[in-house]
């Protein structure tokens, strides 16, 4: 029987959107399966609501707050209710798993920071021996970084750094007064470090292609987390899915939970995907010639582990036993803050949805005392607004008058460190617990290792030292201990790429070693984490894999 679709993509977020765009543009009839509900670009956003138009002035009713961590009234509709989608962890090893179960996934929730990985990252595992060697190098993915940056729209400043390759940039956003001063002082105190404006997926000089898709320049509202009706920041809903629709090769099914990949041992091919309708709880099967898993690192691993057959008793394409292992996140929770005396007569206008970035220097331009790999810092300088009144004594006309002017300047620095792969950090299917759809829950057992902790300690020390060197006062580190893994929301590594089918799941095309028409292109594929925000790499990886999958199909190779 002929398959219904040429390609099935599970997941509609950062990676799935790119897979859909590239596959449909190559003439493949493509089905995108999304477990969450449909969201309409624009109509389902809250970005035109002034503060006073939001219910409860944007605060979630208190009895509901624990169900929507870190959300506001304006972003609650992009959060799944905690408890509806349970998972388990060992009691002493928490893992925080933030998800976006709706069309567009976490591409509607991301912080939009977009950085390339370099050969320092792609060669790291081979050089220091942690994990397995990446089967690709920078030159393999560089043209795909170009490709996705051109389409997505990345604003940034070229710096010529070996550890953070420049890309196809739209005009950079400007550093504010204090950030410019901080850059001068920091780079004078540390000639081997650099402060640059964040590279972010915001349009600052729209291309014809972007305008044709209804996207335009950033309006500096910084209400991105509510969705952007201007399509100024990159999301599946603003960019990749609309482009895929234009080909007329796209079909989207929402409310369809990926259950398993169906495998035919006679042909050694994936033949389709079984889903569960989230509303009716009924099962359904879609058939396709090629399957892309883009359900996020943990989600894709869950589906693979759940795809058991005689040929693959522990899950499809899992002959290496690596599916679910090597779960990583970025080490986070490090950083520092401080205040600054000066520039009292200067301010800014507009809300820049971006900060600055201090690229990695440890084990690049400077040695690290006792660890491998490194970390980068995001940060920003700003003046305080009326919110400071909460912690200030005073009432009446004088108090009101005092809050009229902004307070002094302050700075924040937030470190993101590379976490090493460790096969014992893993996702498994819970032996007994199931969710409301009868799917085995995932059990996540993941903890930071010695190197990860050493690196976090040094990041705190560095953050404080840099702020003090740049002249900030009242400098304090953010916390003694890094956050629990998962907190950076950069899960990776559960279906890693590698040369050797015995120690990795995917080859250099993101194609399963065991099942040649199965591709995994989300964070699961990452052989190491680097310390840069990873979404841009997922985009490039997805586009590249889709290109190769289409070529293989055309050649009759899969």
């Amino acid at each position: 029987m002929e398959p219904e679709f040429d390609a099935i993509v599970v997941g509609s977020g950062m990676s799935g959107g790119w897979a859909a765009k590239e596959l449909t543009e190559r003439g493949l009839k493509t089905l995108v399966i999304e477990r969450g509900r449909h969201i309409e670009h624009g109509a389902d956003y809250t970005d035109f609501d002034a503060p006073w138009e939001l219910p409860f002035l944007n605060r979630i009713p208190e009895d509901e707050q624990s169900l929507y961590p870190f959300a506001s009234q304006a972003t609650k509709h992009f959060r799944m209710k905690a408890g509806d989608h349970p998972y388990s962890t060992p009691e002493d090893r928490p893992f925080r798993w933030f998800r976006g179960y709706h069309l567009g996934g976490r591409s509607l929730m991301w912080a939009r920071q977009s950085y390339r990985m370099s050969d320092i990252d792609f060669e790291a595992n081979k050089k220091d021996g942690y994990g397995v060697d990446w089967p690709i190098r920078y030159q393999d993915i560089a043209p795909w970084y170009d490709h996705v940056e051109r389409f997505a729209g990345i604003s940034g400043q070229a710096e010529g750094l070996e550890q953070l390759p420049d890309g196809v940039f739209q005009p950079a956003m400007e550093l504010n007064c204090l950030e410019q001063e901080m850059k001068k002082r920091l780079e004078a105190a540390y000639p081997t470090r650099k402060l640059t404006i964040g590279r972010c997926a915001h349009i600052t000089e729209a291309t014809e292609e972007q305008l044709d898709l209804g996207r335009g320049n950033c309006q500096y509202r910084s209400y991105c987390s509510r969705g952007c009706s201007f399509g100024s920041y990159f999301s599946s809903l603003s960019a990749t899915l609309p482009a895929a629709r234009l080909t007329e090769n796209l079909t989207i099914v929402t409310d369809a939970i990926g259950h398993s990949v169906i495998y035919d041992p006679e042909t050694n091919r994936a033949t389709g995907v079984r889903i569960i309708d989230s509303n009716t709880k009924e099962g359904r099967i879609y058939t396709g010639r090629v399957v892309f898993l883009c359900a996020s690192a943990i989600g894709s691993a869950q589906i693979m582990l759940n795809s058991m057959s005689d040929a693959f008793p522990t899950g499809i394409a899992n002959s290496s036993d690596m599916v679910g292992r090597n779960l990583m996140d970025h080490v986070s929770g490090m950083g520092a803050g401080g205040s600054f005396d000066g520039f009292e007569d200067m301010y800014y206008s507009g809300r820049r949805p971006n900060g600055f970035y201090i690229p990695r220097y440890r084990n690049v331009t400077e040695e690290a005392p006792d660890f491998v790999r490194g970390y980068g810092f995001q940060g920003g300088c700003q003046r305080g607004s009326w919110e400071r009144g909460r912690g200030m004594a005073g009432i009446g006309a004088d108090f009101k008058h005092a809050l009229r002017t902004p307070s002094g300047w302050s700075v924040w620095l937030s470190g993101f460190g590379e976490m090493l792969p460790n096969p014992e950090n893993r996702v498994t299917l819970h032996p007994t617990k199931t969710d409301q759809w009868g799917m085995a829950q995932v059990h996540i057992d993941c903890t930071l290792g010695e190197n990860d902790k050493k690196l976090a300690r040094q990041a705190n020390l560095d953050a404080v030292a840099m702020l003090e060197a740049a002249g900030f006062k009242n400098v304090s580190a953010r916390g003694e201990e890094p956050f629990a893994p998962g907190s950076a929301i950069h899960e990776m590594g559960t279906v890693r790429m590698g040369h050797d089918p015995k120690t990795s799941v995917l080859n250099k095309y993101n194609q399963a070693h065991d099942v040649p028409n199965l591709f995994v292109t989300d964070g699961a594929c990452m052989t190491s984490t680097a310390c840069q925000n990873p979404s841009l790499t997922y985009m490039a990886m997805s586009a590249r894999a889709a290109h190769h999958a289409a070529e293989f199909l055309k050649a009759g190779a899969i």
Binding site: H38, G42, A43, F48, A50, P51, W52, E53, F56, L57, N58, R59, P61, E62, D63, M173, E174, L175, N176, C177, G216, Q219, Y220, R221, S229, F230, R245, L250, T251, I252, V253, T254, E344, D345, M346, Y347, Y348, S349, G350, R351, R352, R383, S385, W386, E387, G389, R390, G391, A393, G394, I395, G396, A397, F399, K400, H401, L403, R404, T405, P406
Partner: protein
Amino acid sequence: MKHAEDKSPGAPIDRRELMRRAVYMVGGAAALAGLEGCSGAEGNAPPQTRGSAGRYFSALRMDQLRAVIDVMIPATDTPGAIAAGVPEFMDDMMRDWASAETRSQMKAVLDQIDERAIRVGGQSFRRLSPEHQLAVLEGYDAHSFEVWNADYQRFKDLVLLGYYHSEIGATQELRFELIPGRWDACVPLGDMRTWAD
């Protein structure tokens, strides 16, 4: 199974689309100035007069709440918290937003203020003269920060939010632009006020 993609050409244009188009044609704040009439906002509830019950608080409590909030953020050269509808905001929040714990915290604050008013001025807060109200509340506020009175911190937080994120607080007392349209990284502060958001 495909989702409908295109809105039919005859479909009415909503406020969102109108704003989006206007911004691209004219740019930022200038466009919005012409769209005042398109606002879907009903604005804050008009301030109620003395002696009327709220949706959550009794008439007496509402009178006290109005008196307290009026002293905290009075009308000066700009409207104060009464004109901004903050007492009604607090009342709504207690009815529809607050947890049981927060409700009892807010009640405790109002009780503490009345106790102090009676101790210092011999009558309940709402009956004191404006001068006495100011003195009592200044004393209570200062003391609350000395002893770190968490109940009052939360009360003050809600009052400030209610004022500075009201339309009056954000646009007349402070400054707010829904769609700035541009980023000016370094501008002289001059006599500019702080951004409300």
